[in-house]
């Protein structure tokens, strides 16, 4: 079973990982975006970690909805509403239980990813965060480590794709050959999940 403490560890592990990888995310965002993905997420997840420490929400759902709201209020850009919605909707789907099973979490995360697709209008193959998140959710049934591997593979697989959503889409064919920064940060989020689970 996964409790509120697990979800707090997930968020703090994400904050630490985004902190470590901020420069790489910004560098990936440079040729096909506007060179700020790392610093934006760094600001957001730092705020999430601080808020969770202050508020100490007691259920898994409350941890994720608080984290989502915090991202929406601090990140801006497209990443703020998209990552914020991912966590907020996942948290809402978890309800008010003090512990949730891995299956319940997998279902909730799928609801979160669906909400991101609805909000941003992106589908798999559009070279966005969805290309890491959908395989991650699909693989979650095989455990957190499998989910992490699937997300990383999904992020790497965005390199040959032409972007059809977000700022990279303005480049047309010139977006081909670059790994998507959003898919890359999504893979970090999923990797932090495995880390929080001790894998």
């Amino acid at each position: 079973m996964l409790d509120a403490d697990f979800f707090r560890r997930w968020m703090t592990a994400t904050a630490a990982s985004v902190d470590r990888e901020a420069e790489r995310l910004t560098a990936l965002d440079s040729p096909i975006g506007d060179a700020d993905h790392g610093s934006n997420l760094q600001r957001g997840f730092t705020a999430v970690a601080a808020e969770l420490e202050k508020e100490a929400p007691r259920t898994p759902g409350a941890v994720l909805t608080l984290a989502g709201r915090q991202l929406i209020s601090t990140v801006g850009g497209a990443s703020g509403p998209l990552y914020g919605t991912l966590l907020r909707r996942t948290g809402k789907a978890l309800g008010e239980a003090s512990e949730v099973s891995e299956d319940q979490f997998a279902q909730a995360l799928r609801a979160g990813v669906d909400a991101v697709m609805t909000l941003g209008g992106a589908a798999p193959g559009d070279k966005t965060m969805i290309d890491a998140l959908v395989p991650a959710v699909d693989a979650l049934g095989d455990g957190f480590a499998a989910s992490r591997a699937a997300a990383e593979e999904g992020a790497l697989a965005t390199t040959p794709l032409q972007a059809r959503k977000g700022r990279a889409s303005y480049l047309g064919e010139r977006s081909i050959g670059h790994q998507d920064p959003g898919a890359t940060s999504s893979a970090l989020l999923i990797a932090a999940l495995a880390e929080a689970h001790g894998e």
């Binding site: 910004t26 440079s30 040729p31 096909i32 975006g33 506007d34 060179a35 700020d36 790392g38 610093s39 934006n40 600001r43 929406i72 209020s73 601090t74 990140v75 801006g76 850009g77 497209a78 990443s79 703020g80 509403p81 998209l82 909000l119 941003g120 032409q162 059809r164 959503k165 977000g166 700022r167 990279a168 889409s169 303005y170 480049l171 047309g172 010139r174």
Partner: protein, 330 residues
């Protein structure tokens, strides 16, 4: 790249503090990142709120004041502001006559303003939205995030602002804003990439002998790269791209806009070429504005925006305006 800053993290806050000191006619809330005209809310009048990433100055904060915006929300550099800022701005300027959000068509801006509109409506504020998408360099709207909002934003903010100032109701101010956007088209070129404070080096590599055609305003590369052209050749290309997408029946407003790193001397020279092309194509010019208005940090280059105006829109364009970035008639 050397920059006149302290540290990258405080660039926006530092600029807002400086803006507050220079413009006592504005209320600049540095912590909450909202710029509001001091006399807001103006009784009985529709309020205009816009915002977007920083790095495009004077857009949007420099266009706050009588006859234009009621408030602006600056985000981080090239990053949309957050819904909290927009709701705060709307609440500060709403007189009860409603608020018009003017939103440039970028995924982040659209998502955050949509969330803000919902939240503001929950607080009992009537909100309407105008989306600005004038950039003809984005040709394939089906497989992209759609045309970007660039130079036409200035025309929308000025003309809708004048309509609001006259006391026109929200539906009418919104309709005028939409009409201005529909009548406007832009095309931009870059001679150099820009440098964001967070990265500290140019966002893309543009060799000395080349230029980038069809750029946006976020340091993103354009659609196509070519060997460097003369001012006249660039004017032929840019105005040609705009006129391939619109056939003006009425006179046009012309914005020859610098991207931030090109001297006014060059912009005026470029404007001479733009006017030559317009004359050759038989397009009548109602008014021309030359300067750095919708910028992309230190990027060298320029964009051309044409906006067809009938008598009503031209009258609203000429109406008095008093903002840090645009001022006439008062």
């Amino acid at each position: 790249m050397k920059m006149l800053i302290n540290v990258a993290e405080t660039v926006v806050a530092d600029a807002l503090r400086g803006m507050a000191a220079a413009h006592p006619e504005l209320v600049v809330d540095v912590d909450n990142r909202v710029i509001v005209r001091r006399d807001a809310p103006v009784a009985g009048k529709v309020a205009l709120v816009s915002g977007g990433g920083s790095g495009h100055e004077p857009l949007h904060g420099g266009f706050v004041g009588p006859g234009m915006l009621s408030a602006a929300c600056p985000g981080e550099v090239f990053t949309s502001p957050v819904p909290d800022q927009m709701v705060r701005a709307a609440a500060a300027v709403d007189s009860g006559a409603g608020v018009l959000f003017i939103v440039k068509n970028y995924t982040g801006d659209v998502l955050n303003f949509d969330m803000a509109a919902e939240l503001a409506e929950d607080e009992g504020i009537q909100v309407a939205k105008v989306l600005v998408n004038d950039d003809v360099a984005v040709t394939d709207s089906l497989y992209t995030a759609g045309r970007r909002g660039t130079g036409a934003t200035l025309f929308v903010e000025k003309i809708a602002g004048a309509a609001a100032d006259e006391g026109q109701p929200l539906e009418r101010v919104e309709a005028i804003g939409r009409q201005v956007n529909e009548n406007a088209r832009s095309f931009g070129v870059a001679l150099s990439a820009c440098t964001t404070p967070a990265k500290g080096s140019p966002t893309f590599d543009l060799p000395p002998g080349e230029l980038e055609l069809g750029i946006g305003i976020h340091g993103e590369p354009g659609r196509e790269r070519r060997a460097m052209m003369t001012s006249g050749e660039i004017a032929d290309f840019a105005v040609g791209a705009v006129l391939a997408d619109m056939t003006p029946r009425n006179p046009v407003l012309v914005l020859v806009n610098g991207m931030g790193g090109t001297p006014l001397l060059e912009l005026y020279g470029f404007n001479a070429e733009v006017q030559r092309v317009l004359a050759e194509r038989g397009v009548a010019v109602a008014h021309t504005l030359v300067g750095n208005y919708v910028t992309s940090l230190d990027m060298a280059g320029a964009s051309v925006t044409l906006c067809q105006v009938d008598e009503e829109l031209l009258r609203l364009w000429n109406a008095p305006v008093k903002t840090p970035g645009l001022r006439w008639g008062m």
